[in-house]
């Protein structure tokens, strides 16, 4: 009897221990529920499942957030005057908000927009969800209790050690773009102190292990073989014939291809400039997609029209060596500077935020076949 009770006690103790262990064990992707104290919102991209990666430049961090949208809407998400409507929902006017980035939930196809609401000391980051639900087209994602994990962007320079004084390090990277592919989050940034490439690769789920972050030095050769380093403004992972490339777009406006397998920790890599999209221009967004078995790349530009290029041509293109040669052929597919945000929606469509006729901005779905 005693023995039975002892076994029962032992069993229940074991069960309790197991239960406590299960309770404490983080889920497999390392995300835990709780508040996210965000300081700013910038670039974002969806990753595996419901995970949204979101850059916080002021906090020097990237958050992985679980955005558990239910179901998939069949209706197109379109919204004329999206800037004014988001502003209204946030209790302000369009001149008081700034849209930083847009991403499409891979399952629900809801549109997520990062917004800074207000200015100066009043500025607050807001993650806005735009849906085809007529009753509530705009809602805000609360970060008060959300499943998340965080990776810090280590801007702390290696050489500040030994210099005391308690002053804050003013060095910052502004994350210009994020992409997730094959288990890795790729992060491009623009430093406020150096005009050089700050390209990182972080394994997800995030761990605290330092080796999980790779810092990459990327050079590209332009024109007469002058070699240079510059911040990547926007980039897209693109698989061409089984090889993963990073297609990076720079200021005024070379498109440079890197084989991802060449990008190794601490090593300098030289990429191949395959196209020049024109001077006096900033690339706004770049995506790649396949339509009817053919690969394409779309580049939205601040000054020039949005342009379509062929992935196959990029894969085989020689590096540009002469200033007058523009490289891979491109087709203009928008008015100049019209598209300010671009994202892949589904097999047939992309979604854009573009300048509207009335001076505001419109969210539009556009068929890939129309390009």
């Amino acid at each position: 009897m005693k023995r039975t009770r002892a076994i029962a006690v032992a069993a229940s103790t074991l069960a309790l221990v197991a239960a406590v262990a299960a309770w404490n064990r983080p889920p497999s992707n390392g995300m835990i529920s709780g508040p996210v104290d965000a300081k700013s919102f910038g670039a974002m991209t969806f990753g595996p499942g419901n995970v949204l990666f979101l850059a916080d430049n002021d906090a020097e961090a990237v958050y992985a957030l679980e955005i558990a949208d239910a179901g998939k809407s069949s209706a197109k998400v379109e919204m004329a005057g999206i800037d004014a409507k988001i502003a209204q929902a946030l209790g302000t006017t369009a001149d008081q908000i700034a849209i930083a980035d847009m991403a499409v939930h891979p399952m629900s196809h809801n549109i997520y927009v990062t917004v800074t609401r207000g200015k100066g000391a009043d500025a607050r980051p807001v993650l806005v969800r735009v849906t085809s639900d007529a009753a509530q087209p705009i809602s805000v994602v609360s970060l008060d209790n959300i499943k998340h994990s965080i990776t810090k962007i280590d801007n702390a320079p290696a050489s500040t050690g030994g210099v005391g004084g308690g002053a804050r390090d003013p060095h910052r990277s502004t994350i210009t773009d994020l992409a997730f592919v094959d288990g890795n989050l790729w992060i491009a940034g623009l430093s406020n102190e150096q005009f050089s490439s700050a390209f990182r690769r972080v394994a997800f789920p995030f761990t605290s292990a330092k080796e999980a972050t790779t810092t990459l030095q990327i050079y590209h050769v332009s024109h007469r073989r002058s070699e240079t380093q510059a911040p990547v403004m926007t980039f897209a992972p693109t698989k061409i014939n089984g090889t993963l490339y990073m297609l990076a777009a720079y200021t005024c406006t070379p498109i440079v291809a890197f084989a991802a397998s060449d990008l190794k920790n601490g090593q300098a890599v030289t990429g191949r400039t395959v196209a020049e999209l024109g001077a006096g221009n900033q690339p706004a967004d770049i995506i790649s997609y396949t339509l009817n078995g053919k690969g394409y790349v779309l580049v939205a530009n601040r000054t020039h029209p949005m342009m379509k290029l062929s992935s196959d041509e990029i894969a085989g293109a020689p590096a540009l060596t002469t200033p007058d040669v523009v490289g891979v052929a491109r087709t203009n597919v928008s008015a100049p500077g019209a598209v300010v945000q671009l994202a892949d929606l589904d097999e047939q469509n992309v979604v854009v935020i573009q300048k509207g006729a009335s001076g505001g901005f419109d969210l539009k779905t556009i068929a890939k076949s129309s390009f």
């Binding site: 209790g91 930083a100 100066g120 030994g162 004084g165 003013p170 406020n192 900033q282 200033p323």
Partner: protein, 399 residues
């Protein structure tokens, strides 16, 4: 009392005429008089607003937020646009709307109670009554005397290379980010004409600030500085050797409180030849302080280096490679670096460890020039060796 209800002063009641409708059934009539709509401020958090409607129909107290969102809405501007997001609470006979976000300065808010919508929600369809109330409230612009100013523009030296890469504008207090700084910061030539397309505007107009929002970085357009690029060939460098320029920061920039600057700032500088020479630590003159003192260690540089990078890219190590605590600062227009140790120096060997990414004013670092053309002499870009400058601390020799 934390809450003070500014009901009357801020309210612009457009009380719709309450129509006494002859209803066949009295319980089909609203049981409350037309509710008064008002805005409330919280003295603990003075800018947090809530909108109130009181009294509300006793039968309506069980309505949910989706119903209330059709009845009682708060709008930025007039009521034509989407309502603000927020939550609804009914306590006693008062309906309270708490916006998710606080009101923005200078924006006019309209709260609207739509009695007809309430009737519909309560299925009081037999009543043709239209009743409702509006209130308008505005969070005032900040008042006060501007106090924020530009404390320095780096480089502080008045002679810069023609291929100057960047400037830093240091403010005395946090600033508004995204204030279209490109409209308030101008480069003027000797004739007072604006030098067009001088600066890089990052995608999305992103401005480059430090974490405190007190220092803004402006890059000269690298496309015009780097050789072999179209803008370089078409427009040339933004700065011309032998000429004077002015960087003008207008007082119209706003600080984080929303106030303009106390005064503008003009940085005048002369442009010298192009600098495509990498900084070399072998040309630096290092002083060796004496043991048992906290005398400063100084490095005199033959040219000014980038202020921000010079402030953080050098460190002092002892003979065991352990960092030596202390305070470092650039001076002499960034041609000198001074380090004061926290503890007195001990006799022995030390090193100054230099990050090879340390740059001069033209973006040339210890590893490579800013741009490299065939035939340029350049160190190996894969070189990750840090430069190390040894120095020895000895006891003072008795005279």
């Amino acid at each position: 009392m934390i809450r003070d209800t500014a009901r009357v002063a801020l309210t612009w009641a457009t009380r719709a005429t309450f129509l006494s409708v002859v209803a066949s059934c009295t319980d089909q009539r609203p049981d409350s008089p037309n509710p008064t709509v008002s805005f409330q401020t919280d003295s603990a958090r003075p800018h947090f607003g809530a909108a109130l409607a009181t009294p509300v129909d006793s039968r309506a107290r069980g309505l949910d937020s989706a119903d209330w969102a059709k009845v009682f809405t708060v709008h930025a501007g007039d009521t034509a646009g989407l309502p603000m997001l927020g939550r609804y609470v009914v306590a006693n006979d008062t309906l309270r709307f708490e916006p998710v976000y606080p009101p923005i300065r200078g924006t006019r808010y309209t709260a609207r109670f739509d009695g007809a919508a309430l009737n519909r929600a309560l299925h009081l369809s037999a009543v043709a009554a239209t009743y409702g109330s509006n209130a308008i409230w505005m969070r005032e612009f900040p008042s006060g005397t501007p106090t924020t100013f530009v404390t320095a523009v780096y480089p502080t030296i008045d002679s810069v290379p023609m291929n100057l890469l960047r400037m830093y504008i240091q403010f005395s207090a946090p600033m508004t980010v995204g204030d279209s700084a490109e409209n308030h910061v101008r480069l003027l030539d000797e004739k007072g004409n604006v030098v067009d397309k001088a600066f890089l505007v990052a995608a999305g107009g992103q401005e480059l600030w430090d974490g405190d929002h007190t220092r803004m970085t402006i890059f000269f357009d690298p496309g015009r500085i780097k050789r072999d690029l179209k803008p370089h060939e078409a427009l040339g460098l933004p700065l011309r050797a032998g000429h004077w320029y002015k960087l003008v920061v207008d007082s119209t920039l706003h600080d984080a409180r929303g106030l303009a600057l106390a005064r503008g700032y003009v940085k005048q500088f002369r442009v010298g030849p192009i600098d495509r020479t990498m900084p070399m630590t072998t040309t630096w003159r290092v002083s060796s302080p004496t043991a048992s003192t906290r005398d400063p260690l100084t490095i005199d540089l033959p040219e000014p280096l980038d202020h921000a990078l010079l402030s953080r890219m050098l460190k002092v190590l002892d003979g065991k490679n352990a960092p030596v605590g202390g305070h470092a600062a650039p001076s002499e227009h960034d041609r000198r670096w001074t380090f004061v140790p926290a503890e007195p120096w001990r006799t022995g060997n030390y090193f100054i460890d230099v990050d090879p990414e340390l740059e001069d004013l033209a973006g040339n670092n210890l590893r490579r020039p800013f741009d490299v053309m065939p035939g340029d002499s350049v160190a190996d870009k894969n070189q990750s060796q840090r430069a190390r400058i040894p120095f020895t601390i000895t006891s003072r020799v008795p005279k």
